[in-house]
Symmetry: C2
Subunit: 181 residues, 2 copies
């Protein structure tokens, strides 16, 4: 049973496994601190919060062109870009080949929060547009924080609700404008 679980753990986040692993998040705390200035995600986190969060994240580096998140996959991490640029792409509809570029995001941006929480397939593909370092937080890491540090857990969850609300307002507004044309 536990062997199966270990096997699931190691194969679950396959896309991540293909990337260069740089260590646990605590090694990146200095860089995360340096980045706080332009990371809205951390705007009301204390240094203690960031340290605790970083200790539950794993750091990876992707080279330009490497996939970080693959549309349709079922895996369970969100990521915070530390350095670099990531392009977000969406498969074109059935019968059309290729990908449609949606946007490019940089340091401080978070990606993949939806699947980390709800376990649904990835909505879009994320590809490193240049050498990119990022910190990944898995669902297990999130659960651990909620159980061990409930107040930090609540802070992260409130931040996720705020991020998703902002995106939903923006996307709904764009949809309404399209429908009114």
């Amino acid at each position: 049973m536990s062997d199966t679980n270990v096997a699931e753990q190691t194969t679950k986040n396959e896309t991540l496994q293909a990337l260069e692993y740089l260590g646990e998040g605590s090694t990146a705390v200095q860089r995360i601190f340096a980045m706080i200035g332009h990371a809205r995600f951390f705007s009301d986190f204390t240094p203690g919060d960031i340290d605790m969060l970083a200790r539950n994240m794993l750091i990876y580096r992707a080279q330009a062109g490497q996939t970080i998140i693959r549309e349709g996959d079922i895996d369970d991490y969100m990521l915070l870009i530390i350095e670099g640029q990531v392009e977000i792409l969406k498969h074109k509809g059935p019968g059309q080949g290729g990908h449609q570029p949606m946007t490019i995001v940089g340091p401080g941006a978070t990606l993949g929060e939806m699947s980390m929480i709800d376990g649904e397939p990835r909505f879009a593909t994320c590809v490193a547009a240049e050498t990119t370092t990022f910190a990944a937080l898995s669902r297990d890491g999130m659960v651990k924080i909620i159980l061990e540090e409930p107040s930090l857990g609540a802070k992260i969850l409130i931040k996720l609700v705020t991020l998703l609300s902002a995106r939903l307002r923006q996307t709904s507004q764009s949809l309404l404008q399209q429908l009114e044309r």
Copy 2:
């Protein structure tokens, strides 16, 4: 200072104040229990969780045509529909009068979660389409739950992230379809 706060509290959620107040949520626990079957919101809440949540909610009744949430307002409650139907409307763009109906939701649906958490102006207007009873959870109520019952607080926040993720996936998909036309 405290007088000012009381005054703010009473004027803050003006739209709610205009409606018939039916008491605290604990009086509605039986009805909330009866409703659980079709309320996705409560799918993994224990009876104890629902009881605690209900004790932090206020119950209101709106008559057909009464506004429950007004687009552009700054107030801070989310609501859970217990009985009735609520129409969601959006102001038409500048230069066009009136409202555009978006959808109608019924018992078990939640409304207003985005502003409860992020404090931004209401995105749409919600009007009772028939006599509607609902439970309102203010930001203060949410903060109280997070502080006093962190595990329930986390459960509610995870539920909110899940709800918003589902809506964001759906809205993004509709927007992409519109853009591809």
